[in-house]
């Protein structure tokens, strides 16, 4: 349940074309498109992407169209001090330097010194330096300063909210201080995008979205309201100019219309094709790329409402559902079954942590132990759509059938996604059900983890509380040592798996369909994408 899911869902230079990921039920989908060798023969072309949501507001962190807008537009125009290394397909992306080359953290885990990359210029020719960093942090954090707006301030809070001090040490060094020890601060900064001070001053913050300028691989070209946003290659990009000439993003919210647009040649790439269309698309020569990322589709159960308050009942439900059938038959291999809380493609995932399987007999036995051999009735609120939610109602119906087979009769109550998350953010359940169905990207920001499983979350988490989980998350967040964080997260999510406050269902594989002309895409284990390696042959 992160930004991305407001509208949709959601991380390679090329490893070789050898990486046809062998995955269950998805053998014909890969994580790389032909020509994805770093040297790359292909060059040029116009990539037209049919997106699932509306066009984003291209002013840095505001987004306004969920994470899809960030993936396809904001992260292409701008960069933060750090970035995800999206060049590998076989493990979750590491955080690496972008506008900062390197950094050091003081023993207090709060004071960070960043060495800025030299020789980088914004797309308008302005040189990037420490003053540009400070200008942008003022714009996000210094209430009342000339280019600060409340919308920017509010939007920046999620990733930059913990910054309490920042200063320039010299032209190439800045010091940032966080309120609390924050081990994942470098990752947070990948989302704190840096805009050209010259461009902001020229237009003022209010109109910057109409002429956005960053340091990213693509420069803004034009925005046609409701129709498309057009970017062009930044030929002076510090990592090397992207292969494409032009990148166009068009909003096509209807899945059938997206498929038709790809087939008719109006676009040459679509995000999240309807899983039902995949076989026929592949038969037509369309490339379907998939890869795991930190996604989980799940039900949050109200752990204070009987009988869900009994862990045996929650475990019983987890043994009752046939996830493999949902992943293979309903989602046509675009998802993997989830047998634990930690999504695949996260540092917290360990296959040995798979705690559940499809075992209706065991489910019945657990229900009998809980004194519910006659079954019981419950209810769940299911969104009708929403980013990252895949095909929520059919998935919920499949779960409903499986649960009914062991005696748990669930009433499905559907509502729109805005209503569901709006209520959830206020600590409520839309339509007053015993559970909600939704998806999330648990590790999009480690800072968000306590919102999902922490006992003090302002969100509706099914009232789940485990002090040991809280302790582990706090200890992880405070440590700059990634190995320690990983071990803590693994342990914390292991506890969540055992407590089963959720019904773990599937991990999405982020499918996208590409015309055979599109070459060089490497699909990382991430919601985000590196489009610099992509080209479109005539």
């Amino acid at each position: 349940m992160t930004h991305r899911h407001l509208m949709t869902r959601s991380r390679a230079v090329a490893l070789a074309a050898t990486l046809l990921l062998p995955t269950a039920g998805c053998a014909s989908s890969s994580a790389t498109a032909p020509g994805s060798d770093a040297g790359g023969k292909g060059r040029g072309g116009t990539l037209v992407i049919g997106a699932t949501g509306k066009l984003p507001n291209p002013d840095t962190v505001i987004g306004g169209a969920g994470f899809e807008g960030k993936r396809l537009v904001s992260f292409q125009i701008y960069e933060g001090l750090t970035r995800y290394d999206l060049s590998v397909t076989d493990k979750p992306p590491a955080v690496t330097g972008a506008l900062a080359e390197s950094w050091q953290v003081a023993p207090d885990a709060k004071t960070w010194t960043f060495t800025l990359r030299k020789g980088v210029t914004f797309q308008d020719g302005t040189a990037f330096d420490a003053d540009a960093v400070l200008f942008n942090l003022d714009r996000y954090l210094k209430k009342g300063s000339e280019y600060w707006t409340d919308a920017l301030g509010a939007a920046a809070k999620e990733y930059a909210g913990g910054i309490t001090g920042y200063r320039k040490l010299d032209a190439d060094h800045v010091e940032l201080v966080t309120k609390d020890p924050n081990g994942h601060f470098p990752e947070d900064l990948a989302h704190v995008l840096i805009a050209s001070p010259t461009a902001v001053k020229l237009t003022g913050s209010a109109k910057f979205a109409q002429h956005p300028v960053g340091t990213g691989p693509f420069a803004f070209s034009s925005y046609t309201e409701g129709q498309q946003i057009e970017l062009v290659a930044n030929k002076t990009y510090w990592r090397g100019a992207p292969k494409l000439d032009k990148l166009v993003v068009k909003p096509i919210p209807d899945a059938a219309a997206r498929t038709a647009a790809l087939r008719s040649g109006g676009v040459n790439w679509i995000e999240y094709p309807n899983p039902d269309d995949l076989d026929s698309l592949k038969a037509d020569g369309v490339q379907v790329l998939t890869n795991s990322y930190d996604h989980l589709w799940y039900w949050i159960l109200d752990t204070t409402k009987a009988p869900w308050s009994d862990p045996r009942v929650r475990r019983a439900a987890n043994f009752a559902i046939n996830r493999q059938a949902i992943a293979d038959k309903l989602l046509h291999g675009t998802a993997d079954p989830a047998y634990q809380a930690a999504p695949r493609a996260t540092a917290a995932y360990d296959k040995a942590g798979d705690a559940y399987s499809y075992d209706p007999a065991k489910a019945k036995q657990l229900l009998a132990e809980a004194g519910l051999s006659g079954g019981f009735a419950s209810s769940v609120t299911v969104p009708t759509g929403g980013s990252g939610n895949l095909v929520p109602v059919p998935i919920a119906e499949a779960i409903q059938r499986d649960l009914a087979a062991v005696g748990i009769k669930v009433e499905l109550r559907t509502t729109d996604w805005s209503t569901l998350i709006g209520a959830e953010a206020k600590g409520e359940v839309a339509l007053g059900s015993d559970a909600i169905a939704q998806s999330t990207t648990l590790f999009q920001s480690e800072a968000l983890l306590p919102l999902f499983v922490g006992s003090n979350s302002p969100f509706w988490t099914g009232h789940y509380a485990n002090p040991k989980v809280d302790e582990l998350l706090k200890s992880a967040a405070a440590s700059p040592d990634q190995a320690k964080r990983q071990a803590d997260y693994r342990q914390a999510l292991g506890l969540v798996t055992a407590d089963a406050p959720w019904l773990f269902v599937v991990n999405d594989r982020n499918p996208r369909a590409l015309s055979p002309k599109v070459q060089g895409l490497v699909q990382p284990q991430s919601w985000f994408l590196d489009l610099t390696t992509v080209s479109v042959r005539p």
Partner: protein
């Protein structure tokens, strides 16, 4: 005539006010809020609080409504929460697209409706009349979404004669011809139901006139079939005016799904996105615009009706 029109205009004012009250209350009272939509569900509570204060969401609903109304009366519809741009700007560009689509569809409705209706009325027992009747029924009853997908599947995907959506081709040269190609499928999809209805109503009206005394007397005077038909069509035209006006209004507000399916950047799609984001200023402005258009069209139809038929002036 002037008094009649004045009364109509005065009646329109409370109608529009009523629409704004209902929309404001509905969007404000339904679950979901613009803060989550704008900031994302992961936003810290203090960010939500700040934005909520800035947007004035803490104030009582009537106060918020009156504030909005006062600005609206001065031509200021506020700033879209999700786009962070003035509502008028967003509505302006979308309105042009919707008018274009609606206009094209309406042209199809009128020409198709009159042709099918007239053929059906003139030759009710012959094959052409029966075919026209069947076509009208098919147009009215075919599920619009499926028909639209069928149109895309046949003309865009299989035959590749026409584009599947959007207003112009990224790979093409652009220009009016390109726009026209993009307009065909959404206009046909939007026009089908109103076309069928128009044909049915016009057929009934024309058939009634053709079977009435006027037609008999014209025939008795030895007028040719064509002349009789011309006179009868004229007499049946008030029905066409009424149904046409209604269908135009229906088209204006009913193109939401067509705009969504064909990625046509009009008011319908703008409103759909705004509703999903609970973007109250944009929803309110958009609905007001549609309501004004609706009332305006009705007013025009009434005026035209009064001009054609003096009895309705009262």
């Amino acid at each position: 005539m002037t008094g009649f029109l004045l009364r109509r205009v005065l009646l329109a004012v409370p109608t529009l006010l009523g629409v704004t009250v209902v929309v404001f209350a509905t969007v404000a009272l339904v679950p979901g809020d613009p803060l989550t939509a704008f900031l994302g569900p992961g936003a810290p509570p203090e960010a939500r609080q700040e934005l909520s204060e800035r947007l004035g969401l803490e104030r009582p609903l009537p106060v918020r409504y009156l504030g909005w109304l006062a600005h609206a009366l001065h031509g200021d519809l506020g700033v879209s929460i999700s786009a962070q741009r003035p509502v008028q700007e967003l509505l302006g560009s979308a309105l042009g697209q919707t008018l274009l689509l609606t206009g094209a569809a309406f042209l199809l409705v009128l020409t198709g409706g009159v042709l099918l209706g007239a053929l059906g009325a003139v030759r009710p027992d012959r094959l052409p009349g029966k075919v026209c009747g069947a076509l009208s029924t098919l147009a009215v009853s075919a599920p619009q979404y499926s028909v639209a997908l069928l149109l895309i599947a046949v003309f865009a995907v299989r035959l590749r004669w026409l584009p599947a959506g959007g207003t112009h081709d990224v790979f093409g040269s652009g220009g009016p011809a390109d726009l026209l190609r993009h307009l065909v499928l959404p206009a046909v999809a939007a026009a089908l139901v109103p076309l069928g209805l128009t044909a049915k109503v016009f057929r009934a009206a024309l058939a009634a006139v053709l079977a009435g005394e006027l037609a008999d007397s014209l025939r008795a005077r030895g007028l040719s079939r064509a002349a009789v038909l011309r006179h009868c069509v004229h007499n049946a035209s008030p029905a066409l005016l009424t149904i046409g006006g209604l269908q135009l209004a229906y088209l204006l507000e009913g193109v939401v799904f067509v705009e969504t399916l064909f990625a046509w950047p009009g008011i319908g799609r703008l409103l759909f996105d705004a509703l999903s984001a609970r973007d109250l200023p944009l929803v309110q402005g958009g609905v007001l615009l549609v309501a004004v258009a609706f009332v305006g069209i009705n007013l025009l139809v009434d005026a035209a009706h009064a001009a054609v038929d003096p009895r309705v002036r009262g």
